[in-house]
């Protein structure tokens, strides 16, 4: 009884149920006449599927999830206590060995008598379980079919019932998004609380030393978990990124929305939007092999000491990444400003640029601020560029030419490599993640509210 045969059997069952419902539906319809029947025959068929195939399917899913565990527990119960290994790992090995004997694949060396007995028991229980499950599925399906057949009348509100089922399925799907958020918050909060039992929150939020790798001895190592250097690095890089992205992105948006001919627009817009689709790991590589050395050489030319991997490199490349984000959002917002406002300004004799600067931009400002906030939240949460290009040195500095580290880089560092999930070194990643989540959440909510207000204003 493998998954494939069960799938075929269930499909056959569904087809059978549908056909039966269909036939029955037609039967009652022809007796009562089309005007007196509530639902079309197809809905009777669908209802029969829901009543027969769905419960059978549910039973099989439960068997797949729990069946092996039940069999394993029963098999381990048959093994004499003196041969039963204590720890879970060895039990797993033994069960694998028994399964090899039971399927006839064989094992190396002589199988012990108790192993043979246990393998027999395993075969027995597996067979029994499969027969039981198959019988149960068949019974449930037959009952469902019977129930459908018996209760179908011309007045049966089959359509409403099927639509109700569809509705419930749709609601379940919508709940996934909520569950995701709940999952994020619960997992982060749970693990963060475990972290804060080891390290006090004030040391974490206000500490100025980030050195978790070497502070492994619990209470004495508290000084190593201060996140201020990381936050400083994050904000510094985001600030540089905004300095690059806002002027270029905004001016591009203004030019595309107000000046560019349709031809230029249709050519340039997709090209700029290509930037938005490029994976961030590619930007990181670009920063590492091109922008970093370039900035370093430029710095050497004017007598500045710029490291190839620095806050500046990461910030500039992150700015490049954000340009299309700002430009396309602002473009939309600028185009939404009503034409009458422009016409008013032009009629009073304002030049185009005066119209843009004094009329269009002030009107679009809330929307643009919203776009910038969204871009900022993206910059703060960006990971791969900073992992590759920021230099990974967690020091509290305002000098953009030095290497820094960020919140996201530290999350990656703490959770990759062979670390134990129960140690403060790993758990700190969740505390950092929670901080990051809350920060971006606040930015997003403000931005979304602003953008929404703005949309309503002109719609």
């Amino acid at each position: 009884m493998n998954n494939f045969t069960v799938a075929i059997a269930l499909l056959v069952l569904a087809a059978l149920a549908y056909q039966m419902g269909l036939v029955r539906g037609r039967g009652v319809a022809s007796l009562a006449g089309p005007r007196a029947t509530h639902s079309r025959p197809g809905y009777h068929g669908a209802l029969a599927i829901l009543r027969a195939a769905l419960p059978a399917f549910a039973i099989y899913v439960l068997w797949v999830i729990f069946g092996n565990q039940i069999v394993h527990t029963l098999v381990l119960g048959t093994i004499p206590i003196e041969f039963l290994p204590q720890d879970a790992m060895q039990q797993k090995v033994l069960l694998q060995r028994l399964a090899n004997i039971a399927t006839g694949f064989g094992v190396l060396g002589e199988a012990q008598p108790y192993e043979m007995a246990a393998a027999d028991a395993m075969r027995h229980y597996q067979g029994l379980g499969q027969v039981l499950v198959a019988a149960l599925m068949a019974t449930v399906a037959a009952l469902g079919l019977f129930w459908s057949w018996r209760t179908t009348t011309a007045e049966t509100r089959a359509r409403n019932k099927v639509e109700r089922a569809i509705n419930i399925a749709l609601i379940f799907c919508s709940a996934v998004a909520i569950l995701t958020t709940v999952g994020i918050v619960m997992s982060m909060l749970g693990e963060s609380l475990r972290f804060f039992q080891m390290i006090s929150p004030s040391d974490f939020f206000f500490g100025t030393v980030w050195n978790p790798r070497f502070a492994t001895t619990g209470a004495e190592g508290q000084s190593g978990f201060g996140m201020l250097p990381l936050m400083g690095g994050t904000l510094l890089i985001s600030f540089i990124a905004m300095l690059v992205a806002i002027p270029v992105g905004l001016m591009t948006a203004i030019y595309m929305a107000e000046y560019a001919s349709n031809r230029v627009r249709s050519l340039v817009k997709p090209v700029v939007e290509v930037l938005a689709g490029i994976p961030t790991i590619v930007y990181g590589f670009f920063a590492l092999v091109t922008v970093g050395p370039l900035l370093s050489a430029l710095g050497a030319g004017i007598g500045l000491d710029i490291r190839a991997t620095s806050a500046l490199t990461a910030g500039v490349v992150m700015g490049i990444m954000i340009i299309p984000f700002i430009s396309s959002l602002s473009d939309d917002i600028i185009t939404q400003v009503p034409k009458t406002m422009r016409d008013g300004s032009l009629a009073l004799g304002g030049t185009k640029s005066e119209t843009i600067v004094k009329v269009v931009l002030p009107a679009a400002l809330p929307g643009i601020v919203g776009a910038i906030l969204l871009a900022l939240s993206r910059a703060i949460g960006e990971t791969m560029i900073v992992v590759l290009a920021a230099g990974n040195s967690p020091v509290l500095t305002a000098n953009p030419f030095e290497a820094v580290s960020t919140v996201t880089v530290s999350i990656v560092n703490q959770l990759t490599g062979d670390q134990d999930f129960a140690s403060a070194q790993s758990l700190v990643a969740f505390a950092l993640g929670l901080t990051l989540f809350v920060m971006t959440l606040i930015l997003n909510v403000i931005a979304l509210v602003i953008v929404r207000k703005y949309r309503e204003q002109y719609e």
């Binding site: 799907c173 919508s174 930037l275 590492l288 092999v289």
Partner: protein
């Protein structure tokens, strides 16, 4: 009233003219700044692609030996390949087969390669260490695999294409400074001289290599490292994303747009989805690490976990895009269906949804393309582990294309892997761009303006 005289008019006119000139100059300046911004953006796209292409394209061609290899029975001393006897359990056969392969492992395959090289450079036989450095180490194992596949090859001479060592590739392409002193070169002076000679003789050619597409990642044989494992991992994850994110996302968009009552709960769901779309991807990685790996005990580094994490990440994108597609369908369609007696479900499923299908498809492809390039969350669920096999099931260890790029860019042999990484990026970008252009084509082909 104070009427200005002629002189006054002239003064005002001069003033206005001056200010007009100033304003028009301002206008031109503003416009130029706009053009400048657009040009900067275009230049950035150009330099990004220029860098990647110029570094990546040449490394699809690799230094390759085309050389006769004699499978000398003197060197390959090995019994016949075992066959499963009747009455033998699979476990026993497996043991015998392993023993045979173990014997094969003791064969000095490098000697076969040294002999092959010695036919062109007789001196190579005397310093095999310098000679074997020419060929990437994985090729010796490739010879073994050939014998496993076909034991009758022993005793024959076969013309083979063998990849040169990564350092030889770097040397011949000039990616390392040739004037560096011996102690800073990766290869011995002898090996370098032979490499140049073989290249001049045409034994080593710079030919198109399929290794990057067909092989898996390798630590010992860098020249043969490829993307096959990562590609398979990415493919599995994308299938999981499509199978889960599309039905769930579309269903939830339909519910929110067509059925949900307008109340505070649906408002909350809407705000929540908009927020999820803007949550940093690394947070989804943390979610995956905590929920799927810590709580559900799913295996680390497995495509199934990666697929689930990327599904959760893609879901908001699919929902938002599907909703906007549904919004764009005029209410008259629904009203017409409802007017002739269809139920709400019928109106939606029979009329609205088919019209929205192209938009949904486009949104799906864009969402999948975005998920394909995502790296950070995968690092947190352990997909950055070194894996040298193509995953057979979604529960096996695996990497993904962007993660492979991340791993390769960090390799110590920078001269070789800068090109290799760029080549991998070209493969990834090509996949993404073809997905994107497919989406654009679909949108153009089926777009309806109401």
């Amino acid at each position: 009233m104070n009427k200005p005289n002629n002189q006054g008019y002239a003064a005002i006119e001069a003033k206005v003219k001056a200010s007009l000139q100033r304003r028009q100059r301002q206008e031109t300046r503003f416009r130029l700044v706009g053009v400048g911004a657009v040009l900067i953006a275009l230049a950035l796209v150009a330099s990004l692609f220029g860098t990647i292409l110029s570094k990546g394209l040449p490394s699809f061609w690799q230094a390759t030996f085309e050389i006769d290899v004699h499978f000398d029975p003197e060197i390959v001393q090995i019994g016949p390949k075992p066959v499963q006897a009747s009455g033998e359990s699979p476990a026993q056969f497996k043991e015998r087969d392993m023993a045979w392969q173990m014997d094969l492992g003791f064969v000095d395959f490098s000697q076969l390669l040294v002999n092959a090289i010695a036919k062109h450079i007789p001196a190579a036989a005397d310093s095999p260490r310098d000679a074997i450095a020419l060929i990437t180490s994985g090729e010796a194992f490739a010879l073994r695999d050939r014998i496993v596949a076909d034991p009758s090859i022993v005793g024959k001479t076969v013309k083979l294409k063998l990849l040169a060592d990564a350092n030889v590739d770097v040397w011949l392409k000039g990616n390392i400074d040739r004037s560096l002193p011996d102690d800073r070169q990766q290869l011995s002076a002898q090996t370098r001289e032979w490499a140049d000679k073989l290249y001049a003789d045409g034994v080593i050619k710079n030919s198109f290599s399929t290794a990057i597409f067909l092989n898996t990642d390798s630590r010992s044989s860098l020249a043969a490292a490829g993307l096959a494992g990562a590609f398979m991992g990415s493919l599995m994850m994308m299938i999981i994303v499509i199978l889960l994110a599309v039905p769930i996302g579309v269903a939830s968009a339909i519910y929110l747009e067509e059925f949900a009552p307008k109340n505070r709960i649906t408002d909350l769901i809407e705000v929540n989805i908009n927020n999820l779309a803007a949550v940093p991807s690394i947070v989804f990685g943390l979610l995956g690490a905590a929920v799927f790996i810590l709580w559900f005990k799913l295996p680390m580094s497995a495509p199934v976990v990666g697929g689930l994490v990327l599904t959760l990440m893609t879901l908001p994108t699919v929902i938002i895009a599907t909703r906007s597609t549904l919004k764009a369908i005029p209410p008259s369609i629904r009203e017409a269906a409802l007017g002739i007696g269809a139920s709400k479900v019928q109106a939606t499923m029979h009329h609205v949804l088919p019209l929205a299908l192209p938009g949904i498809l486009t949104a799906t492809i864009l969402g999948v393309a975005q998920a394909l390039g995502e790296t950070a969350p995968l690092l947190l669920i352990g997909m950055s582990a070194f894996v040298s096999a193509v995953p057979a099931t979604p529960f096996d260890q695996s990497t993904a294309l962007p993660v492979q790029i991340f791993l390769w860019q960090g390799n110590e042999l920078r001269n070789f892997f800068e090109g290799r990484t760029s080549a991998a990026i070209i493969v990834l970008l090509a996949l993404m761009l073809s997905l994107n252009s497919m989406a654009i084509w679909l949108r153009k082909r089926y777009e309806t303006r109401w």
